[in-house]
């Protein structure tokens, strides 16, 4: 198993990663045009398809997805094993959260890959 020390180091590093990738995300959604316009399917440079078409922005969404998935579910793990201590509980919590985190990452990655492909054909 990965040691607690390593997990917490990754927790902090993903925190820093979210700081950067999150700033890019919030910046593209809020600062490039009125939010309502950016939430449209297409029609302006930073509308949803415009973002996914751009390999750098799509890649930074994937990075954000990975960072947040680790950070959030490791955070929940810390909370849940602070709640109650026993080897069985810790084991169950760790496995259950790993599975949920993986499902979220797979689903989100699917969105990014398919949206990237669709977006190439959108004017």
């Amino acid at each position: 198993m990965v040691s607690e020390r390593t997990l917490m180091l990754i927790h902090y590093l993903t925190g820093l990663g979210i700081l950067v990738a999150g700033a890019v995300h919030i910046g593209t959604v809020f600062l490039t045009a009125p939010v309502k316009e950016n939430l449209e399917f297409a029609g302006s440079p930073f509308a949803v398809m415009g973002v996914y078409r751009n390999a750098i922005l799509a890649g930074s969404l994937e990075a954000l997805l990975l960072f947040v998935a680790f950070h959030a579910f490791n955070g929940l793990r810390v909370i849940l094993i602070e709640l109650y201590q026993s080897p069985r509980w810790e084991h169950a919590v760790t496995w259950a959260l790993t599975v949920v985190a993986l499902l979220v990452v797979i689903y989100g990655t699917r969105t990014i890959i398919i949206a990237y492909s669709i977006a190439q054909g959108v004017a």
Partner: protein, 164 residues
């Protein structure tokens, strides 16, 4: 701990220490808020990944179909229509508040854990303040509150246009 206590007693005690920061100083407030904001953002994150899944047409889409683009556009347009109501707008403003707080307070914790901006250790005389809450650290805590309030106002304005 004397013996094994039942699960409910453990849960009640844990929730009390986590959720009632009153009377233990700033650091406890920071701890409680960091936890609550972390859990709230996590719930939002999962919902957000489900929501953005509709950009390509929802959970059933795993391949590129011939009408992929028209289908995705129709589904996403319906999705944002469904999400455009004051309830979700208010929810986003609250998420903005928590994200802003968690980010700046997270930076504060980061610096504290790596030993930056802390006071020198002193003898714990009665009424002393923990050196982990040095003036720098206190300032960062208040900065996170200020930024969170700013984010609340900013997102409320962006979604409702109340200040327009």
């Amino acid at each position: 701990m004397a013996g094994r206590r039942n699960g409910l007693a453990v849960l009640v005690e844990a929730l009390r220490t986590w959720l009632v920061p009153y009377r233990y100083g700033l650091e406890r407030w920071s701890y409680t808020l960091q936890r609550i904001s972390g859990v709230v953002i996590t719930l939002y994150f999962v919902a957000h990944i489900v929501e953005t899944g509709y950009v390509v047409g929802g959970p059933s889409v795993w391949t590129i179909r011939p009408d992929a683009q028209q289908y995705a556009e129709r589904v996403w347009t319906e999705t944002i229509k469904f999400l455009s109501n004051p309830l979700f707008d208010a929810g986003l403003a609250i998420i903005g508040f928590f994200v802003a707080f968690h980010t700046i307070n997270g930076i504060r914790l980061f610096l504290a854990h790596f030993g930056w901006g802390l006071g020198r250790p002193t003898r714990p005389e009665p009424m002393h303040r923990p050196q982990s809450m040095s003036p720098t650290q206190r300032a960062l805590f208040w900065a996170s509150i200020a930024f969170a309030v700013f984010a609340l106002v900013y997102t409320t304005n962006a979604f409702f246009g109340v200040l327009a």
